[in-house]
């Protein structure tokens, strides 16, 4: 997030797109509700009539995967109506003129044709956002889990840059990170292109720096992404070590994923439960869980906070870092002589420019948001206040692209996936916490009542859902939250492996899977037919 969570009650116009915040980030949503109570206007763009839509001033029911078209249409209106923030564009951005020329072709009427949202509503959204004293954008995986995820994010940046809604209190471009420490994992350099602190591996200076620190020269070329690695399993990739990820359930195209892992010479999994992925491993190491280890975790607003140990891990389970250290020692690797999480964190700080001013003791109370480039630096709750890291904000010319898979006669229904309030990921944790079943006993397919009638489905009865990649049986729930022609389910329940269906395509840049869109057909069935 460019702005802190504390800013969430300060915008005058809030634009939420592709975020089911009341379910996926409930506590953040409570802050937005305060902004609304203070008079802020809320614009919500989402294919489903989610909880946020109920409290919005303007709801834009876009067709799944049509986000870029909506955003281009909005940029067109802002340009046409002369609402561009010229001063901001002149002072802080580049390529603006080409961009303003580029968006002239994308009228709201054109966008209506693709998104299904009335042109007048697109105009209204653009006017509100552009005229806002403080306009803030919030988004999550609804924007990124598409083949055009990068384009979508870039389109949001374009909107913020052309209106100057960035670098100030109550504005910004704010992706909400899904997992507790997904921000931290990136910060730590668990990426094929960056060392810790987002230092590119392709820069010889960084290579030198880490050679000095670790005593080994690391490739100057980027590594491959997990998606590519899975594609090359059994071929170029022969061994994998996976920590705390239930890959076969969370990743798209389960069948492909299982085959990939099976073809390895060696699979090592570190986890707290014997997940479906761990079951395929040659070696499984038992990890100490949350509540059983000391460590750090970085949240969606870049706040570095301490995790503390309250009880001992069960049996012989050990902290992940210790497991990896023991394995490294057996391999004869150098630099794995840490005594504690504190040791490791302090090593991170010494090597990462974003954490450089931090150390274990300084983060005791969690008041720092990175970057903290030097000791005594107060941290950076708000990014881009005095300028962009690379000098100027660059406009990118985006064009709309159809999703990798579009509906046709064989698969005439859109399926989109997401999260539910009471379940977390594959329920390895929430499913094992007492009482949660009372609120969410099973997965359901959300279907518009008219569609249900048309397709012969009955609320509470079963349906067979099939895509080009697989089939699942799932209970039907009729609801007006689903638009006509689009059905919804989450991937939380093992007995309804929704990701057997997904996985039609990937973003070419980030290789994020298009989990939000796939084409399916739905028909009634009796439980147990598959």
């Amino acid at each position: 997030m460019s702005n802190p969570l504390a800013d969430m009650d300060k915008p005058t116009v809030i634009f939420c797109i592709g975020t089911n915040m009341t379910e996926a980030h409930p506590v953040a949503a409570t802050r937005l509700k305060k902004a609304i109570a203070n008079g802020a206007k809320l614009i919500v763009a989402d294919p489903r009539r989610i909880g946020l839509a109920d409290i919005s001033d303007l709801y834009l029911p876009i067709r799944v995967g049509s986000d870029a078209a909506l955003l281009l249409g909005m940029a067109h209106v802002i340009q046409r109506e002369g609402l561009v923030n010229d001063v901001f564009m002149a002072d802080r951005t580049t390529e603006g003129e080409t961009f303003l020329e580029h968006v002239k072709q994308f009228t709201p009427e054109w966008a209506e044709g693709i998104t299904g949202v009335p042109a007048a509503d697109i105009e209204q959204a653009a006017l509100w956002y552009a005229q806002a004293e403080r306009g803030a954008i919030y988004y999550t995986l609804g924007i990124t889990e598409h083949i055009c995820g990068v384009d979508n994010v870039q389109s949001l940046c374009n909107l913020a840059l052309m209106t100057g809604n960035i670098g100030r209190e109550g504005t910004g471009i704010n992706p909400m990170r899904g997992q507790n420490n997904i921000q931290g994992a990136g910060d730590m350099g668990a990426l094929p292109n960056n060392y810790p602190g987002f230092q590119p591996v392709t820069d010889p200076k960084n290579q030198e720096k880490f050679e000095k620190a670790w005593g080994i020269k690391v490739d100057l070329e980027k590594g491959i992404t997990k998606v590519t690695a899975l594609d090359s399993c059994g071929d170029a990739i022969r061994a994998m070590i996976i920590d705390g990820e239930n890959t076969v359930v969370t990743d798209p195209n389960r069948d492909h994923c299982e085959k990939a892992l099976k073809s390895l010479d060696l699979l090592v999994v570190i986890d707290i439960f014997l997940t479906d992925t761990a079951k395929m491993a040659d070696v499984v190491f038992p990890a100490a869980a949350w509540g059983e280890v000391d460590g750090t975790q970085t949240n969606t607003e870049r706040r570095v906070q301490r995790l503390r140990k309250a009880i001992d891990p069960p049996g012989e389970a050990k902290p992940d870092w210790q497991i990896l250290q023991m394995l490294a020692q057996r391999m004869g690797f150098q630099g794995f002589e840490h005594e504690s999480a504190k040791d490791i964190f302090n090593e991170v700080c010494s090597l990462s420019p974003t954490y450089y001013g931090l150390d274990w003791d300084r983060i005791e109370h969690g008041e720092y948001q990175w970057p903290v480039p030097e000791k005594n630096h107060p941290g950076t709750p708000r990014l881009h206040e005095d300028g962009f890291i690379n000098g100027r904000g660059i406009f990118k010319l985006i064009n709309y692209r159809d999703p990798a898979e579009v509906i046709d006669d064989d698969y005439p229904v859109w399926l989109t996936t997401g999260r539910r309030l009471q379940a977390y990921h594959t329920r390895t944790q929430t499913g094992r916490s007492a009482g949660i079943d009372y609120l969410l006993p099973e997965e359901v397919l959300e279907v518009h009542p008219d569609d249900a009638a048309k397709w012969g489905l009955v609320d509470g009865e079963w349906a067979e859902l099939a895509s080009r990649r697989g089939k699942v049986e799932i209970k039907v729930r009729t609801t007006n939250r689903s638009p006509k022609g689009t059905v919804f389910a989450s991937f939380s329940f093992a007995d309804v492996p929704i990701n057997a269906l997904t996985g039609s395509g990937y973003d070419p840049v980030t290789q994020t899977a298009e989990l939000k869109v796939c084409a399916v057909r739905v028909k009634p069935c009796k439980k147990g037919v598959l």
Partner: protein, 363 residues
């Protein structure tokens, strides 16, 4: 513009005989708290709009005939305030005597909720267990609500409305409301039904703000009889990226409950159902307790660390030898602490000299 404290006007007033400064917009209670005055409250929750319902926080203001509720009264220039006089003390004591005359119990287990000891603590501080009044009782317990999280023991309710207000103002959920008045007052849902049929999200905020334990954390209360003192460990919720601060409660080596950290920088006391109630997975019997390796029979078998580590290291070395360093790939967790992710990428980079590392954010 959003006004910051520095831009607001400062004025002077007299507090317990000492001249103090305040900024416009502060209540007497706000000022007194800054100067470490110990004014008792019951219907006050600093995250909520002042309500002024219980009158425990009364103070004497010069020129006003009766004591005023400090939590709602704005501080004014040249005001002269006494926070503790004999008259005020006896007023507070009487209030407490009246309040507990309505209640079946005053002393409740601290596992019921974060604020559950507030009433009992005040009753003791003001020595109010006199039984001077015999009251009718307001609020009837809802034993029929069998949800696994929130006990609705309204026999203990003192109608402070903190639960209703936290739900509306802090959560924006408006799941509960107030029905009837006086002794017939009842906290209820829209159709006077079960919480699960209302717009309740089971965030547990009502439980944590209730000053009497009328609302209780049912999950934690299962451990009322577990022996040992309650210990609290400050940590961060293990679910989403908001990073809510929590206090994990243990008795010995048993997790008994969890409460929000009211001063958590990301959440300021708020939590959702996952953070509040889905903490006990770590003590589930399914937890892996020993390393496992795949045997000749194709099954996974438990073994000791040495065997498992050797097996993994030998396997990695063999692959390295036969297929080169670009045949090994590491996937770090977005769930585990930073130290785990750092160790994984260092394992790959410093160990194999490649950038064949990623985390699970792409899925």
């Amino acid at each position: 513009m959003i006004m910051t404290a520095a831009e607001a006007q400062t004025h002077c007033m007299t507090l317990d005989g000492v001249e103090v400064q305040f900024v416009e917009g502060e209540t007497i209670y706000d000022v007194a708290r800054r100067y470490h005055k110990d004014i008792p409250t019951l219907c006050y929750d600093e995250r909520l709009e002042p309500f002024g319902g219980c009158r425990m926080c009364v103070v004497q203001v010069e020129g006003m005939r009766s004591p005023v509720a400090s939590c709602t009264m704005p501080a004014a220039p040249d005001m002269v305030v006494q926070t503790q006089t004999h008259e005020i003390d006896s007023h507070r004591k009487t209030l407490l005597e009246l309040l507990i005359s309505e209640n079946r119990e005053v002393d409740v287990d601290p596992l019921r909720g974060y604020a559950s000891q507030e009433l009992a603590t005040l009753v003791d501080a003001y020595d109010a267990r006199t039984g001077r009044f015999e009251g009718g009782q307001s609020g009837a317990t809802r034993d029929d609500d069998d949800n696994p999280f929130i006990l609705r023991d309204y026999d203990l309710c003192i109608s402070c409305y903190r639960c209703v207000r936290v739900c509306a103002e802090h959560e924006g959920d408006y799941a509960i409301s107030i029905m009837n008045r006086g002794f017939a007052t009842q906290i209820t849902t829209e159709f006077n039904g079960l919480l699960k049929d209302s717009s309740c999200t089971f965030c547990g905020q009502c439980v944590q703000t209730c000053p009497t334990g009328a609302l209780g954390d049912k999950k934690a209360m299962r451990h009322t009889d577990t022996p040992g003192e309650i210990e609290k460990t400050r940590t961060i919720c293990p679910y989403c990226g908001v990073g809510c601060a929590v206090d994990l409660m243990t008795k010995g080596e048993t997790i008994v409950g969890l409460q929000p950290a009211m001063d958590g920088p990301a959440n300021e006391g708020a939590l959702c159902v996952k953070g509040q109630f889905a903490y006990d997975f770590i003590q589930h019997p399914d937890r892996l307790k020993a390393p496992m390796v795949r045997g000749d029979d194709g099954e996974l078998h438990e073994t000791d660390w040495d065997t498992a580590l050797d097996r993994a290291a030998d396997g990695l070395k063999r692959v390295l030898e036969q297929h080169g360093r670009h045949s090994v790939y590491g996937v770090a967790s977005g769930r585990a602490p930073c130290e785990a992710a750092y160790s994984m990428q260092k394992f790959i980079r410093a160990g194999f000299g490649t950038n064949y590392i990623d985390n699970c954010s792409r899925a």
